[in-house]
Symmetry: C2
Subunit: 318 residues, 2 copies
């Protein structure tokens, strides 16, 4: 069984590649919920939705979030009445937010709601939130502390970051499916998808016991670098790394993950970093990792699964 | 100053006629909130919305509720995920529900939120909820007790009614604007619009002190009959009256209102009831009251205002 940790768009792409090449019962996709927030009383889970919509083949590829073929009539009405419109709520997307919020208020866990929504959207792969508790990512910037969506959407990642905080992470238990998968004798590898290491993966590593549990696993834990040639494919990862005094490189990503990983897949263009990664004790390899098409996603998924397989065969991870 | 009490579609029509012929500061439209309910965590005020949309010229005349040019993409998404879809939430209408809910949760009163929404929709007339408290109409039927929307929308008014209950009405204070208007020295008349007497007007009359206050007023209190030739123009008023053992007639409506009214405008087709109404002490007159066009609404509005004026001149209400 493979556990894949994923955040937003990049993570969803590799997760969908893995879902395309693995049987549903051999994959668990664990998704960041540090971006979750309440807006107009609705519980919004941006990363869970991105992963679900991507796996359902319903993601809006032009926008990079939300549903394909979306309409914006509710937003027009909110504009009409002078309500906040910085966070765009698509009419179809609202159905997900309303249904999720309603079920959560009825007492269902976010894990249960996620499973139900995924079934409704015809997603066979198992998707779990990282936790059923509330973890809220806050971005400390030179302009003060910002809740994640304030930083990411309202301020468009412009303020200079000084620190990232995963508020209440120490009190949030990993979701049952996540914890069980890491403890499972069937676990063959953990794959950290090419998501923002600080904003998307950081919240998961901040959950109680997760870093230690990953570090103690005797299976490959492979990070796919979200940084290619000094830049993030999408999003503010490179900008934030530089603002925090780090270089935007696979090396920096590996340092953030520390001993939670023992292997890394970097892009061909970063092949020269493999030696340095080796000095850190990380087995690295390179391949084309840019995912533009569905075929790309499956190819990268197969590459990382083969890498995991070769690591297991050589027992380099023991 | 004129106070008009209104519920759904029929009430909204006369209210819009009154708004068309009176200056904004000479009219207060008080709207039923006994139909209000929570759905998907949203505070929905069907009658306030019907009146607001009608006065804004934005009402969906085909449906008889909601906004013109509405789309239903959120509902399609709710259907996709197997959520409840018996109450239709239009995409544009959702903007109103989200904005209202958000402002209520922030601590604003329903009166304040209503005023703000009306300004946004370009409605000059003053519209107030009957109360800022929660009154919830329950319909007791041969199939058990049903919350109003369960009876009205989900069960399409099919179950046979045995009683109507205005739950918590005794604890809900009339909204400030409503109470002040009834106490105002400038009050010239109260007009009860042709709304369902039991479902739309009944909740207002059940508020503490309202019946007595109306009965003690020395101004015309005129009900416009919602029943024409034994039938309601729209909705279940006639059916409910018969189920409760009353005939569907202006007489029955007058009996329900009791001494809250002292005058009545009935349709030409019910002119023969005027004598009986007189025996009850009610001054009645007749005119064409069916409102199909905007011109009809203004004509009925002028008719009822002239009726009020003539009653004041003759001091028949003192």
């Amino acid at each position: 069984m493979i556990v894949a940790l994923a955040g937003g768009v990049g993570g969803a792409k590799l997760a969908s590649g893995l879902a395309a090449v693995l049987p549903p019962d051999e994959l668990l996709i664990v998704v960041n919920t540090g971006d979750d927030f309440e807006h107009f009383g609705l519980h919004i889970s941006p990363d869970l939705d991105t992963v679900m919509y991507t796996l359902a083949g319903r993601a809006n590829s032009e926008l990079g979030w939300g549903l394909a073929g979306e309409t914006w009539h509710c937003m027009e009405a909110l504009e009409q009445v002078g309500a906040e419109t910085w966070f765009r709520l698509g009419d179809r997307d609202l159905g997900t937010h309303l249904a999720r919020t309603h079920r959560l208020r009825r007492g269902e866990s976010l894990s249960a709601v996620t499973s139900a929504l995924c079934r409704s959207y015809g997603v066979a792969a198992r998707i779990a939130p990282m936790s059923d508790g509330d973890v809220r990512t806050f971005v400390h910037t030179r302009e003060g502390e910002l809740a994640f969506q304030d930083y990411f959407v309202r301020r468009r990642c412009e303020p200079q970051v000084t620190a990232i905080e995963y508020r209440d992470a120490e009190r949030a238990a990993p979701a049952g499916a996540f914890a069980r998968a890491l403890d499972s004798a069937d676990l063959e590898a953990v794959i950290i998808c090419p998501s923002n290491p600080l904003l998307s993966i950081g919240p998961m590593l901040a959950l109680p016991g997760i870093r230690d549990r990953l570090a103690s696993l005797r299976v490959p834990r492979i990070a796919v670098s979200p940084i290619i040639r000094g830049e993030a494919v999408k999003g503010p990862a490179a900008k934030i790394l530089r603002e925090l005094g780090k270089e935007a490189s696979p090396m920096s990503v590996a340092q953030i993950y520390g001993n939670a990983i023992n292997a890394m897949l970097v892009d061909d263009d970063d092949a020269q970093q493999i030696g340095q990664l080796g000095e850190m004790g990380i087995v690295a390899t390179h391949a084309p990792t840019l995912m533009k098409s569905a075929a790309d996603r499956e190819r990268v998924a197969r590459t990382v699964l083969q890498f995991a397989q070769s690591l297991r065969e050589r027992r380099v991870t023991v």
